[in-house]
Every structure is written in C-alpha cells, then in structure tokens.
C-alpha cells in the first residue's frame, strides 16, 4: 500500500474482491481491476457476498431470537426494540399495500433491516477493514455491499420478477399485457403505449437499484476523499477528522432514508402489481 497515488488509493477502495476464472491465470482472485473485468460474468464478488450474507444472517439471528422470546406478556427491552421495528414495517405495509398478500410484510422487513445494516457498514472508517484484509493478503475488500451494483440490482430484479409474477397471477397474462398496450392512449396506438409503458416498467427496477447504489456509492466516495486528507499533515488530518464526523452524521440520514425508500417503493410496486387500473 506504500507509495500509492491518490488515484490508486481511490481505485483500490472501489474494487471488489472478485473470484472467478481468468482466461490466462486460471481460477483465483483477481489481482487487479483489469483482471476482474476480464473474468466476465462468471465471477463472483466474494466480499459483497460475504458481507451481505453475513449481515443478513445477523439480521435473521437477531429477529429469530426475538421471535423465540416473543410473548404476549411484558416484553424485554430487546424484544421491545425488535417489535418497534416490526410494527414500523407493518404499519407501512398496512398503509401502502391494499391487497392481501402475506409475503409482502416479510419482504419489506427483510429489505429494510438488511439494507439498513449493509448501508451502516459505510460508517465504519473506510480503511480499517480493507487495510486489515490487505495485511492478511486479501488484495481487495469492499465492506459496503450496497455500493456494489450487483447487490442492489440483485434485490431490485428479484422484486421486479415478483411484480411481474403477481401482475400475471392477479390480472392474468391478458390483463397484464392490456395494461402495457392499451393505455394511456386508445388501442390502435398500441405500439406507442407499449413503448411508454415498457419504459416505465423497466425504469422501476433500474431506478430502484441505481438510487440505492448511487447514494451509497457517492457517500462512500466522499468518505474515501476525506480519508485522503489524513495523509496531508496535521492540519488536514484534523480537518479530515472533523469532516468525517460531520459527513458520518449526515450519512446516518442517508443510510436510514435509502433503506426506507427502498422498502416503501418495493411495497408500492407490489401494490401496483396487485391492483387493476
């Protein structure tokens, strides 16, 4: 890591740990951004998967513990906390989702808490874990899964698939196609309708994924830039400390807000899939 330029430092922070088959070097971890690119689609970001699955497991472990302890009697503070989260999600689902589907609330809960946890990793000082990994011989380590578009698109495309599934299930293939082709203009203009509705259909998962990714990516980028100040001497170091603290406070808002927006929009999209226009 010694004698890095700022560009190299930033690039190092923005590179995932890719595991895959390289055309020349064979199976293994990509040692550079170029190698990772050359691996193509059949590679996997080990850091994204590890951190996201780890945080997801943490979420389920905490909530499962609460579920096992749940009683109708006096709740413990821990149980109270979990129940607050559950009731918050439940209220949002009840307020937004008009049809009847028992899957929506668990989806909303999973998304909210999971994304919140993944986003919160952004508040860990940017160098701690990547540098520790580097010392241990792991070339790259990105700890915030939501700054990997694979993760956010993985979520949004799953939800997209669910909306298509429920649209067809509730309205039938004909009804679903009708919604795409026969509005907002009269039927004979169906190519125009199909084009317009197709764009709005596709834009939902794309915007959902890119909003979350963009916000967190930008946030992380600013943390990285602030971290660069630490190498600029005592004055810039102190300024960087203050800035990092300030940005972290502000980022708390983004972390929560993005998790909330993702959850709410998912509920809205699923509600649209269930309702006839």
């Amino acid at each position: 890591m010694a004698a890095q330029t700022s560009t190299e430092y930033i690039q190092h922070h923005l590179q995932n740990l890719a595991l895959g088959v390289h055309p020349e070097n064979g199976f293994g971890f990509a040692q550079s951004a170029a190698e990772a690119r050359e691996m193509g689609f059949w590679a996997i970001h080990v850091d994204t998967m590890l951190w996201s699955v780890g945080l997801g497991a943490l979420f389920l472990w905490i909530f499962r513990k609460a579920a096992l302890k749940a009683t109708s009697g006096v709740p413990t503070p821990f149980l109270n906390f979990v129940e607050t989260v559950i009731e918050f999600v439940d209220q949002n689902v009840r307020g937004t989702f008009t049809a009847k589907n028992d899957l929506v609330a668990p989806i909303a809960l999973t998304l909210f808490v999971w994304i919140l946890l993944m986003n919160t990793m952004d508040l860990v000082p940017v160098d701690w874990i990547p540098h520790l990994a580097y010392v241990l011989g792991v070339p790259y380590m990105k700890v915030v899964p939501t700054t990997d578009p694979n993760a956010t698109f993985g979520l949004s495309l799953s939800i997209f698939a669910l909306t298509i599934y429920y649209s067809i299930k509730v309205k039938g293939a004909k009804g679903f196609f009708g919604e795409l082709a026969f509005q907002p203009f009269p039927k004979f203009l169906f190519p125009v309708n199909l084009f317009l509705e197709g764009i709005s259909l596709i834009s939902k998962p794309v915007s959902l994924a890119l909003r979350l990714f963009g916000n967190l990516y930008a946030g992380e980028m600013i943390f990285i830039l602030i971290a660069l100040l630490y190498s600029g001497g005592l004055f810039w170091g102190l300024a960087g400390g203050a800035l990092q603290w300030g940005w972290a406070v502000f980022h708390l808002l983004i972390v929560t807000l993005q998790a909330f927006i993702f959850m709410i929009l998912t509920i809205v999209y699923l509600d649209m899939a269930h309702s006839h226009h």
Binding site: G20, W42, M49, A66, L68, G154, L155
Partner: protein, 156 residues
C-alpha cells in the same frame, strides 16, 4: 464494478432471507403482538368493570351505613322514650303508694282517735256517775240513766 454472478448470488440470498423471515420471524412476533393487544384490551376492560363494581359497592355501602345510622337513631329514641315512660310510671306508682301510706296513717289516726274517744266516753260516764253520786250523796243507778249518760258521752 462489473456486473457478474454476484447479481444471482444476491438474489438467491435475498430469497432465502425472505423465506426465513416469512416462516420463522414474522408470524411469531406478530402473533405475540396481537395477543398482547387483546390481553391489554381485556385488562383495561376488566379494570373498568372493577372500577364500576367498586363505585356500585360504594353506593351500597353508603346506603347500608345510612340505614344502620337511621336504625340506631330509632333504637336510641325508643330507649329514651321507654326510659321516660319508666320514670313516669315509677313516679305515678310512688305517688299512689305515698297516697296509700298517708291514707293508712290517717285511718290509723282516726281509729286511734276513735278508740281514745270511746275510752274517754266510758271514763266520762264513770266520772259523771261518780260526780253525780257525790252530788246526790247516794248511789245512782246507771241503768236507769243510761239514756242521759249516753247522750252526755256522745257529746264528747
């Protein structure tokens, strides 16, 4: 920042998490919440019912207490009246008794007076006879002058 298999891995992870949540997290906690809601509602209703019962009991207690007070007052009044009556009766008895005693005493006095008078009468006859004998110097036949003697004695 390449799109690769992570996309699929992430989707699978998401699916598994949602399934776990749907199966093992959401229902027990929500059931517990619902149960607690019912329990609290029942508790509040019970508390209200208890409050109402207490208010009713209070009213009844007040009624009973005032009834008991009324009764006590009545009993005391009765007792006082009875005491007055007893005193009056005793007074009346005493008055009657005293009148009787006085009467008896009077009767005795009268009787004694009468006796004394009778005795005196006899004495008077004897004295009159003795006086007349002395005046006449001879014996007077009492039987012959019985009428005169008797009228003399009755004048006493």
């Amino acid at each position: 920042m390449n799109i690769n298999m992570t996309l699929i891995g992430q989707s699978i992870a998401f699916g598994v998490f949602v399934w776990f949540c749907l199966k093992y997290v959401w229902p027990p906690i929500l059931n517990a919440l619902e149960e607690r809601r019912t329990k609290i509602a029942d508790g509040l209703a019970a508390a209200e019912a208890g409050q109402r019962a207490k208010a009713q009991a209070q009213v009844r207690i007040e009624q009973e207490v005032s009834g008991a007070k009324e009764q006590a007052r009545e009993i005391i009044a009765n007792a006082q009246r009875r005491a007055g009556e007893i005193v009056d009766e005793a007074k009346a008895d005493a008055r009657v008794e005293s009148a009787r005693i006085i009467e008896a005493a009077q009767a005795e006095i009268d009787q004694q007076t009468h006796q004394a008078r009778e005795v005196l009468r006899g004495e008077v006859v004897n004295l009159a006879l003795a006086g007349a004998e002395q005046v006449l110097g001879r014996e007077v036949d009492a039987a012959a002058h019985a009428k005169a003697l008797e009228s003399l004695a009755s004048r006493l």
